[in-house]
């Protein structure tokens, strides 16, 4: 069976794999890049299908676009600190700006900042662009930046990046256009961190989030939580080149099929995150273009090493060999994914360890490991939920493989609702889903350090912690990469997190839509597409 190619395996899958390798192989000196901010690097992303034409075409202004994401609710917010899904991020990117943003290769570029400078990676000077105005007409100054960053430290804000912001020990305005940030520990990744969607810059003292007062490319015309938001072109935008669209309307259609049908019937111009299975309908459809990227998010199977059965030596090893990665990649994700090697840095990240092999699918070896652990034949539930994308299907595949070697793994599907607070991180064997993060440091600190808030498998290693801290402060890129490669290997071998695949992202849109590019923060150009795309006449 394995020698048979899936019928929907198209040439684009090979292209995707290639591109991932290319990106992984790209080497850059982070600090040098920082100093030379504003220098445009050659695009490393791969543009596929009809979207390729976008590269050559010259942008034209005008037109309005209605785009649809997949999740939206009354929790929708214009407060960037609270943003939790694509819809929030798309809105934030349209109405606000960050100090920095990430380009298609994952390098930080300057947005509201003129320059971000440091010598020791601990004390940072941020120079702001002058003459940037909020929609209200107020001019951006350092106080706005200080206020915008400091609010993440206040629990009452409910910020999603409270933990990341905590390292900013000192934030102060030096002069109206300069902000000084002192970190608790050196961290060379600060420019990348500041490119996170949550660190959008607001006018100081903003409390009303029923409308957005940002510096962004669009002004907020309509905001109905859970329904839609409409932005109109900001005539006073500080970037000379954008935006091209006259207006952008963003809605969410949670049902994949409905989203696809809305695109096919022309009710929307762009549908984000299509199910790979829909490609049979969308691929080659006249008037429709698809844009595929390796987004870097993944659904993983977590085995808590501090609880039974994960505490038994051999169980995690057995599971790593029991999970059929190829089948998950091909059957569940229909080829729109890269096979994962059980560590969180995805293939499109420049620190991806290309030499680390994914554990092979080997039921016999798994059986042996389970026997060693004394668990063969024990009934073990795997908690899965639609909240962790595709986890139920993955669990089914593991279960089936287990059944063949006499391992009674059962699928315990629980509701989406409350999954993250009730099962994730808590159940002995459960699935998780991690969204793309731009740096290995964020991923490892968040997920694998001994004190990591989301230590999914309760992996504890002092050596790991020490190496992570060392890398964080390093300004030597080669050395830093070496450490990250080692850390990836440590996690892959030692942690109980099985990462079978890095998922691809498919955005489908009318072939009139041009200018879409890759971004390490995920699909829709890391949610910032609105500012960069245009509609061909």
């Amino acid at each position: 069976m394995t020698d048979r190619l899936p019928t929907n395996w198209t040439s684009r899958d090979d292209a995707m794999v290639e591109s991932a390798i290319r990106r992984g192989a790209t080497r850059h000196d982070l600090l040098r890049m920082l100093m030379a901010s504003g220098v445009t690097l050659a695009a490393g992303g791969t543009l596929l299908g009809s979207a390729t034409r976008a590269v050559a075409a010259t942008p034209v202004s005008g037109g309005s676009l209605r785009a649809a994401g997949w999740s939206s609710s009354t929790a929708d917010t214009l407060d960037p600190a609270k943003g939790s899904n694509t819809t929030d991020y798309v809105r934030a990117c349209s109405f606000y700006n960050r100090l920095t943003f990430l380009d298609e290769t994952g390098l930080p570029q300057m947005e509201l900042a003129e320059a971000v400078e440091t010598t020791d990676a601990k004390t940072w000077q941020i120079k702001l662009k002058s003459g940037v105005a909020f929609h209200s007409g107020k001019t951006l100054d350092a106080d706005d930046v200080v206020w915008s960053l400091k609010r993440h430290l206040d629990p009452a804000t409910g910020s999603k990046v409270n933990a990341i912001a905590a390292q900013m020990a000192e934030i102060e305005a030096v002069d109206p256009l300069t902000v000084k940030i002192v970190l608790a520990e050196p961290n060379a990744d600060l420019p990348t961190i500041l490119a996170l969607h949550h660190f959008m810059i607001l006018a100081a003292g903003t409390t009303d989030f029923t409308a957005a007062n940002g510096t962004g490319a669009f002004t907020c015309e309509v905001f109905e939580p859970g329904v839609r938001s409409v932005g109109a072109k900001n005539p006073n935008y500080f970037k000379p080149e954008g935006p091209y669209l006259d207006s952008i309307e963003f809605i969410a259609i949670s049902d994949n099929n409905a989203r696809m049908n809305a695109l096919l019937s022309g009710d929307i111009g762009l549908a984000a995150k299509m199910n790979p299975r829909s490609m049979r309908m969308l691929d080659g459809k006249p008037g429709i273009a698809n844009y595929v990227t390796t987004a870097g998010n993944y659904t993983n199977l977590n085995i808590r090493l501090d609880l039974e059965p994960g505490a038994k030596a051999g169980f995690a090893e057995g599971m790593k060999h029991l999970i059929n990665r190829e089948m998950i990649q091909k059957s569940v994700l229909r080829g729109y994914a890269d096979i994962g090697n059980d560590q969180p840095v995805p293939t499109n990240n420049r620190y991806f360890n290309t030499e680390l092999e994914a554990p092979a699918f080997d039921p016999e070896r798994a059986k042996h490991a389970f026997e060693k652990a004394g668990l063969l034949g024990t009934e073990i539930p795997m908690v899965a939920s639609d909240a962790a994308a595709s986890s139920v299907d993955m669990a089914t595949i593991v279960q089936q493989a287990g059944a063949e070697i006499g391992m009674k793994l059962t699928v315990d599907r629980v509701p989406n609702d409350g999954y993250w607070s009730n099962y994730w991180l808590k159940a002995p064997v459960h699935f998780g889903h991690i969204n793309p993060r731009p740096t290995p440091d964020i991923l490892f600190s968040l997920l694998y350090a001994s004190d990591a808030p989301w230590n999914e498998s309760q992996y504890k290693s002092e050596k790991f912690d020490a190496m992570l801290k060392e890398a964080r402060g390093l300004t030597d890129e080669a050395k830093r990469k070496e450490i990250y490669w080692d850390l990836q290997a440590m996690v892959s071998n030692g942690a109980g997190t099985i990462i079978p695949a890095y998922m691809g992202n498919i955005d489908s849109f009318t072939d009139k839509l041009m200018g879409m590019k890759d971004n390490p923060l995920g699909g829709l150009m890391g949610c910032a597409f609105a500012e960069y795309v245009w509609l061909a006449a």
């Binding site: 099929n257 299975r277 049979r280 569940v332 669990a395 595949i397 279960q399 089936q400 599907r413």
Partner: protein, 285 residues
Amino acid sequence: MISVLRTSPRPGGTGPSWRFNWVGRIGLAMILFWAVVAIFAPMIAPYPIGEIADWDYFGPMSGQFWLGSDYLGRDVLSRILVGSRYTVGISLAAVFAACAGGVILGMVAAVMGGLFDTLLSRLLDAFNGIPSLLFGLVVVAAVGSSIPVLVLTLAAIYLPGAYRFARALSVNVNAMDFVTVARARGERTPYLIFREIFPNILGPVLADLGVRFVFIVLLLSGLSFLGLGVQPPNADWGALVRENIEGLSLGAPAVIFPCIAIATLTISVNMFIDNLPKKIRDRSE
């Protein structure tokens, strides 16, 4: 015989007769067919239910996969056959639980009357006002999902309806003289409800049970949406439709056949009930 119709509320008829017309027989035959399938499903299913037997998804009908393959490349025929166990079994259990609870409470309320009746009726009415979706969510969150929980949840959702129906019927029977005779004899409530009232509302209750069965089959598929469903890789028919719904645009048999299975079951239950011998149905008015 005919003029008796005027004075007596119901003609007696002549003993139980189980004669159906052909529509009723077809309905019964289909129901029995699915019952047999449900019992022997694991023996006749060509593939294990969770096995991904094909790299292709939404495959067409073929010699290898009679009813095509599903979204993961699993055999649809096997999944429908095994799914019949869940759809038929759970729906039946739930409908019986709902009707048993509803009917007993309904009869007790009718016999006891007064405050008990008023309170129970109000309470169950209020329960009707709570969207079943919210109820489902609470149940899963509070006790998790398993087949018994599923059955009880479905039963709870349909209990107020069964209660209302049974109560209305029981109130009528309760007003009959033979119940008064029993009461005057000094009989207690359990005797009154089980021996005097129950046999006389059984017919319409059975008919009601059938209609509710159809709704439960459909609701079952809705609940799997909330995570309150049969655990994978097993799936009831409604869940099969839902998980393969994307195949609809491709005309995939994976979505069409589970629909046909649901339709054959529910339509045949309806045909059977609508054509029950008049003797049984007569009492339903």
